[in-house]
């Protein structure tokens, strides 16, 4: 594909919305076309500006109260006649149950939660590189890094040096991810850093996925009661290899 065909795809590429084949074509083109690569950087910066600085409004507390009250009032008088005849007839659900179903209905939320988690991890990864605060404990020795976390977090994360596979351990630091304490292990790959975030599965296990944001790749998985999320700017295949190596070394 030439520049004219690639250009309109760049934003969708950055948003992780292209199918694998077209995405690969865009990446290949950006590698060899400095003009399009500059356009991609410009898009990424603009997108970053919006996502980092645009304020999100949250519903005022009274609105929650008002709506709950309005819905309950709505559910009562018409319980048998109007409200949810489908559910009440075919499933024999009482109106109060139907109300509960409606109020608690959250499907579709998990997708956005996972997206937020990816955004949060990528932002943190970038910050760790910019602020030169990659490690709180700097050591290539897993037997130094692991005990360092003891007493600082209330869980004991698996710490494994993967130098033999080409991903030497560089250290670790304390983090906060998904509203809970997490640890970040730092690995090196050539001149690049890989942040591996680890936190216990308290509420939700992350579903295995790989994602891409602004040129950063993310691998997430869950194993033995821990959630894992690896972020790096190294190519996706190498990060997948890292994730696989870490997973198999844990056994």
């Amino acid at each position: 594909m030439d520049c004219n065909q690639i250009r309109p795809l760049i934003p969708a590429h950055l948003d992780g919305e292209l199918d694998v084949i077209r995405d690969a074509e865009v990446i290949a083109h950006l590698d060899r076309c400095p003009t399009c690569a500059d356009a991609a950087l410009a898009h990424a910066a603009n997108r970053g500006l919006i996502q980092e600085k645009l304020p999100r409004f949250t519903a005022p507390l009274e609105l929650h109260t008002d709506i709950r009250a309005a819905l309950q009032a709505e559910a009562k008088p018409t319980a048998q006649r109007q409200v949810l005849p489908f559910l009440t007839k075919t499933l024999g659900l009482a109106a109060s149950v139907a109300f509960g179903v409606f109020v608690g209905f959250t499907w579709g939320n998990s997708h956005s939660h996972a997206n937020h988690l990816v955004e949060e991890a990528v932002t943190d990864h970038i910050r760790s590189l910019q602020a030169n605060h990659l490690t709180d404990v700097t050591s290539t020795d897993q037997h130094t890094v692991k005990p360092w976390f003891a007493g600082k977090v209330d869980f004991s994360p698996p710490v494994i040096d993967l130098a033999a596979a080409g991903f030497p351990l560089a250290g670790g630091r304390l983090e906060h991810l998904d509203n809970q304490p997490a640890v970040a292990l730092v690995f090196h790959r050539r001149q690049h850093a890989i942040n591996l975030y680890i936190w216990p599965v308290n509420t939700a296990a992350v579903s295995p996925r790989h994602a891409e944001r602004n040129g950063y790749h993310v691998e997430a998985w869950s194993l033995n009661g821990f959630n894992f999320l690896a972020v790096s700017e190294i190519p996706a295949v190498e990060l997948a290899q890292f994730a696989e190596t870490f997973r198999t070394s844990q056994h």
Binding site: A12, H43, L54, F57, A59, P60, I67, E74, W107, N109
Partner: protein, 166 residues
């Protein structure tokens, strides 16, 4: 549905640009959603609820002064140039949240809502396509153009600000 209230309120607050109308519309949307819940066959409650919120907001906009503005959106608007990466990076550093918010608020609803749904709510192109009722390809091109338009406005306002400052 209640866990989606922040998303509902955020969309309404941006579209209507004031708290009072946003609260009214979200409450109205919840009542409509509750009455229509039996017809809901999808599996994404958030997209479904936001579709209703959006409809309520647009009715409100149409009944007030902004009919023409709401309807008029040229899908083929051209002439927005790509800024260089250098300029985009400078904007990223210099533009404040306040300037960004007030500039977005002045964009047409069609541009504003797509940025809110994607960049604030993290919705996929597919979900946005169902909420806004436009094809997937249009989501892609409209989002890209909306971001560029926002960038262009930001650049103008920023240079105005700095020339006032002299």
């Amino acid at each position: 549905m209640l866990p989606h209230m922040d998303a509902a309120y955020n969309l309404a607050r941006w579209l209507l640009r004031n708290e009072h109308d946003a609260r009214d519309s979200v409450q109205e949307a919840y009542l409509r959603a509750f009455r229509a819940f039996t017809q809901f066959r999808g599996n994404d409650g958030r997209a479904w609820l936001l579709t209703i919120v959006r409809n309520v907001c647009y009715s409100k906009l149409r009944s007030s002064r902004r009919i023409a503005e709401v309807e008029a959106f040229n899908e083929n608007e051209h002439g927005i140039v790509n800024e260089s990466a250098e300029t985009a990076e400078r904007l990223r550093r210099e533009v404040s949240s306040e300037l960004l918010a007030s500039t977005l608020a002045d964009l047409p609803e069609a541009m504003l809502e797509i940025i809110v749904l994607h960049d604030l709510e993290g919705m996929s192109y597919k979900d946005i396509s169902s909420v806004v009722g436009i094809p997937l390809g249009t989501v892609m091109s409209r989002l890209a153009r909306s971001r560029l338009r926002l960038q262009k406005e930001l650049l103008e306002r920023l240079s105005k600000e700095s020339s006032h400052g002299l």
